[in-house]
Symmetry: C2
Subunit: 561 residues, 2 copies
C-alpha cells in the first residue's frame, strides 16, 4: 500500500502561500488566502483560473473602480504567466458550482495580485500540445512537464520508489549503498560508454549495472544491499531504449532462488499503487522450455490464451507434402495456434499481414510467438476486448540455459545472461561434460509480456568461476581477477535481482513509452533535444584527455568547403 | 530522530538462517538455531567465533567421538571462511559469561555445520589490516568492508539518507526526480568529464550538479524537487576529492532564502543520528564580510574563539616602521589573533611553524584565518582540549559577493558561485551600475569549519539572466539558450540548495576522509585500485566513437622500443 502517499504533508511550509490551488473547499469560505500559480485560463477580465501542481482555483477579478489597477493587471497577464493572488474564499453563486472540479464550490475574490513572471509568446498553444510531435514536446520539455499526464507519472514514480525503499530498508534490513559509475570495461562490454581519463590511453567505462560491485559488497559482509541504480548502455539508436536508465538493484547473502522471488513479490505488493488495484502473490512460474513451447517467447503475455499446440499427430497421416517433409526431420513437428473468433474479426487484409509475418519470421523458433501477439493486436484493433488493460499478470520464467551458441559462430558458447550466473544445482556436474545442457539459476520477472526484472544466484566459488570464464567462454579472466580473488577470500553464497524501473512504471501508468515516465528523456538517437546534447567541444577541451576526433572523410571534406 | 533505524526488521526472512550472529540472548537458551557467518576466531578445536554484519556468536565444537567429522571440519576451517552452523543455544558455564559481548551470556553447541566457502590465504592478517597502507586496503576493499568501522559508516549513511527522504518526500511534499547525467558542457565546465558519442566530434558531459535540470523542473511546475544526486568533477589529483560524489539536491518554487534555511535545519534535525546527540535550530548566521573579518575564512570553525581583532588604533602611535607603513595604505589595518594559553602550550618549534605559515600566506587576506587554524592544531597537539570532538557547530554564511575578479585577469568578472545566482534584492539596481558591489542571495552551510552545503535563490527573469551572462560575464549565452527561453515561458521564483553528503557523513562519524564513508572510493589520483580503473582499451573499441588517443611523445617512443 502507498504509505508515502497517505501521510499528510504541508505544502505551505517554508513558503509564503497559505494554500495550494487544489486545496480550497467550502470549509475555507471567509478565509483570506494567498495562492501562487500559473494562469491556466482568463475570460474577458471577469475571472481567471490559477493552476499549480495540485489543482485549479477560480479567481474572480474585481470590477469596481477602486480595483481598476488590479483588473488591468490580471486581465492582461498572458496565459502561463506566474501570478500571486491574495483574496478571500467565497462560495460560488448558486447554480455556478462545478462538481467536476475539486475546488468547484468556491472561488477566490482577488484583493491584491502580482505578476511574478509574464509568459512570452508560447511556441504553440498549450491545449494542442499533446497533438504536437514528440520532438517538439521534448524540445520544450519544461512545458510538457506541466501536463497532468507527466506530473502524475513523475509523482507516482517518486512515491512508488519511496515505498520500495521503506520495504527494503526499514522492514527488511537492506542497506542502500551507492556504487561507482566510473569503472572499467567488462569482458564483452561493447555497449559501455567510455570516459577518457587524464592518463594517456586510459578510459573509465560507465557500467551497464552495478553487478560486480554488488557481488563484492556481499563478499564484504554487507548481507543485504539495494540501490536505485543509474545504469548506462550505448546501443546506438534503438526505439524505446535510453542511454541511461534506472534499476532497482538488489543482492542478498545466504539466499536461494525462492528467497529472492518471495522478496520481490513482497516488494511489489507493498509498493503497488492503491489506485491500480492489488496484485496476488506468489506469482506463477514457468520454465524457459515451457514458455518457448507454449508461447513462442521467453516473456509470455499470459493475459490471454491462444497457446501454441503441437498438432503433429493429427496431421501425420494427412499426406500433405510439406507437412510430411517437416515431420521427417529429427524433432520435426507441426505447431499451431487457434485464434478464437478469428473468423468473425479478422479481415482478408489481416490474414495477409499474418502471412507476411509468418514468412519474415520463418525459420525462427519464435515465429508462432510473434504470430500470436500480432493476432491479438489485430483482434483488438477489430474491437475484441482480449487483454484487460487494468490487469497485471506477473510471471516468473526460470530454468534458462546457462550458455547459448554464439550467433556469429555457433560452435562457441556465450553466457545466456552473464558469466557470474550459477548453474542449476541438478546440472552442476554437466558443466564439465556438456555445458550446452546446463540450466542456470537465472530468473526473469515478466509483466504482461514485458521483461521487468532479471536476476540469478551467483557463482561464489572461485574455481567454478574461473572454469566458466576460461574453459567454457574462452574469455581472458585477468580482467576479472579482482572478482575471482574476492571469491577465494570468504565469499558467501549470494544472489539478487534487478528490476527495470522505467519499464515497470510505464506499465503501471499505461504509458506507451518509457520516455513518458522519465523527466528528461533522450530521443531514440540518444539526443537531448532541449539542451542539444551531445555537442561539439573544442580540440583544446580534448587535450587534457589525450584524445582527438577521427573525422570521417566526408565530414572532413565538408569542413574544408 | 532515526525512524528508519527503530523499525524492527526481520533479517531472517527470505533466507534459511534462523538468527543473525548478533541476536542470541539468554532468552533463546534451548532453541535450535542456524547461523551463517565468517570464522572470526578459532581456538584449538574447542570453539570458534562466528561473525556476521550484526555481531559475534561463540560456537562450541563437540569433542565426542560421534562428532569427530564435525570437529575436523570446524577446527580446520581457515579464518574468514564462510560457515553454516546448526546447533542449540546454551548458557555459558558460570563465570565464563562475557559482559562486553552482546551475545556473551550464551554459546551455540554445534550439531551440524558446512563450510560454504573456505578462505584462501589472506594477503595480510585481518587484525593488522587497519595498520596497512590505504592503497592495500583499497585494493582489497571487500576485506576492509568487513570491518566494524566501514560497516557502521555505510549503515549509518543508508539510515540517515532514508530519514532525509522521509522528511522531504513524506512530510513536505517533495518529489524525487532523477535527472540525466549524460548532458552537455556548461560554460566554464572545464572540470566536466566528457563522454564520446557515436556522432563524430560530439560529446556528452557528466554534469557537476543537476543545476539546470532542477531549475527546469521548477519551470515545469514540479514545485518541490529533491534527488540524492550523483555528481562528477574532474579535478585531476586532489587530496580528499572524488571524481564522483553525492549531493542531497533540493529545489523549491515560491521560496526565499529563509524558507530554504528553515527547511534544511528541519531536515538535519529530523535525520540526525540519535547517538550523536541533538542539534539546535535555527543555526546561527553570519555575513561573508563578518566571516572574513573575524575568522579570515568564509567557512569559520566556530567551535573555538581566537577571533581576528583590529588593533590598528592601539598601534597607530607606536612608531614602529612597518606598522606605520601598513597603516598608511588605504584600508590599511593591523589585525591580530590572541592565542590563549599559547605561552604555556606552544614551543619554539611551534612558533617557527606559525612564522613559516604567516610568511607563505602573506599578502592573502586569509593569512590570519590559516594561522588561527594552525594555532588550534598546535594547541591540541600539545594537549589542550580546544575543540569538543562531539560538538557540531552549524553556521549559515550569507551575503556573498555575486561576482569576483578573475584570478588570471582581475579587470574581468566571474561568478562567485554560478551564473544562475540571484542578486540580493537591496543590490539589484547596482547590477547595472557597479556589479562588483552586488551581494548575492547565495548561502553556504558550514559545519565545524567545513562547507557542507551551498545554495541560492536563482534568477527567474530572462532579461536579468541574459544581462548577467552577456554583459557582466561576457559569456556566450547561446549555449544556455534553452534555459533562458524557459525563463521567458512562465518560470516561477525559485531557489534551492545542495548538501555534500560524503563530507556531511564523514563529519558525523568523525572519519578522517570522505573515502571512509564511500563503499568503493577512488584514490586521490582517481584510480580504482581494486578493479584497476581507468584502463587501456583497444583502438577498435574507440572506433564507434570517432576518437583516437593522442599519445604523448615519450609514450610513443616507449611503445616503439
Amino acid at each position: 500500500s502507498f504509505q508515502a502517499g497517505t501521510v499528510p504533508f504541508t505544502p505551505a511550509r517554508f513558503v509564503t502561500r497559505t494554500n495550494t490551488c487544489g486545496e480550497l473547499r467550502s470549509a475555507h469560505v471567509g478565509q483570506k488566502v494567498t495562492l501562487y500559480g500559473w494562469v491556466q485560463y482568463q475570460r474577458q477580465g471577469l475571472f481567471l483560473v490559477l493552476r499549480d501542481f495540485q489543482g485549479l482555483t477560480q479567481v474572480i477579478i474585481p470590477q469596481d473602480e477602486a480595483h481598476s489597477h488590479l483588473k488591468e493587471l490580471l486581465s492582461s497577464a498572458p496565459l502561463e504567466s506566474v501570478v500571486r493572488v491574495t483574496g478571500t474564499v467565497s462560495p460560488r453563486p448558486l447554480g455556478q458550482e462545478n462538481p467536476k472540479m475539486p475546488t468547484g464550490d468556491i472561488e477566490v475574490k482577488a484583493e491584491t495580485a502580482e505578476i511574478l513572471n509574464s509568459c512570452k509568446k508560447l511556441p504553440f498553444e498549450i491545449k494542442d500540445f499533446i497533438k504536437k510531435s514528440e520532438a517538439l514536446r521534448m524540445q520544450y520539455r519544461y512545458l510538457d512537464l506541466r501536463s497532468p499526464r507527466l506530473q502524475s507519472a513523475l509523482r507516482l514514480r517518486s512515491r512508488l520508489v519511496m515505498s520500495m525503499r521503506q520495504y527494503l530498508c526499514n522492514l527488511h534490513g537492506f542497506v542502500d549503498v551507492e556504487t561507482p559509475t566510473l569503472f572499467k570495461r567488462t569482458p564483452g562490454g561493447a555497449k559501455e560508454f567510455l570516459v577518457p581519463s587524464r592518463e594517456p590511453g586510459k578510459f573509465y567505462s560507465l557500467p551497464q549495472s552495478p553487478q560486480q560491485f554488488k557481488q563484492l559488497l556481499m563478499v564484504g559482509g554487507l548481507d543485504r544491499y539495494f540501490q536505485v541504480a543509474r545504469c548506462y548502455r550505448d546501443e546506438g539508436s534503438r526505439p524505446d531504449r535510453q542511454p541511461e536508465f534506472t534499476q532497482i538493484d538488489i543482492e542478498m547473502s545466504f539466499v536461494d532462488q525462492a528467497g529472492i522471488q518471495r522478496l520481490v513479490e513482497g516488494l511489489l505488493q507493498h509498493s503497488w499503487p492503491e489506485e491500480r488495484g492489488s496484485i496476488m502473490t506468489p506469482f506463477p512460474s514457468m520454465t524457459y522450455e515451457e514458455a518457448l513451447a507454449e508461447y513462442g517467447t521467453d516473456k509470455p503475455d499470459t493475459r490471454f490464451g491462444m497457446k501454441i499446440v503441437d498438432i503433429s499427430d493429427v496431421l501425420r497421416g494427412s499426406g500433405v507434402h510439406f507437412v510430411q517433409n517437416a515431420l521427417s526431420y529429427p524433432h520435426g513437428s507441426i505447431r499451431a495456434i487457434c485464434i478464437p473468433q478469428g473468423v468473425k474479426y479478422l479481415t482478408n487484409k489481416d490474414l495477409e499481414s499474418l502471412k507476411e509475418s509468418a514468412k519474415s519470421e520463418f525459420n525462427q523458433c519464435c515465429a508462432l510467438g510473434a504470430l500470436r501477439l500480432l493476432s491479438a493486436n489485430l483482434l483488438e484493433a477489430a474491437g475484441l476486448a482480449l487483454r484487460d488493460p487494468t490487469a497485471f499478470h506477473f510471471l516468473w520464467v526460470v530454468d534458462f540455459p546457462l550458455f547459448l551458441p554464439k550467433a556469429e559462430n555457433p560452435t562457441e558458447l556465450e553466457s545466456a545472461h552473464h558469466p557470474f550466473t550459477a548453474p542449476h544445482p541438478s546440472d552442476a556436474s554437466l558443466l564439465y561434460s556438456d555445458p550446452t545442457k546446463v540450466r542456470s539459476q537465472h530468473y526473469d520477472l515478466v509483466l504482461n509480456g514485458n521483461e521487468v526484472g532479471g536476476g540469478s544466484i551467483r557463482i561464489h566459488n572461485a574455481e567454478q568461476q574461473r572454469f566458466v570464464l576460461e574453459k567454457v567462454l574462452k574469455e581472458d579472466s585477468e580482467v576479472l581477477s579482482h572478482l575471482i580473488e574476492a571469491l577465494e577470500l570468504g565469499a558467501p553464497p549470494h544472489g539478487g535481482i534487478a528490476l527495470g524501473l522505467d519499464r515497470l512504471i510505464s506499465l503501471i501508468v499505461d504509458a506507451p513509452s518509457i520516455r513518458d515516465v522519465i523527466a528528461f528523456p533522450k530521443s531514440f538517437r540518444g539526443r537531448d533535444l532541449m539542451g542539444n546534447a551531445p555537442d561539439y567541444v573544442t580540440p583544446e577541451e580534448l587535450e587534457p584527455y589525450h584524445i582527438q576526433v577521427s573525422w570521417p572523410l566526408e565530414e572532413k571534406e565538408a569542413k574544408k568547403n
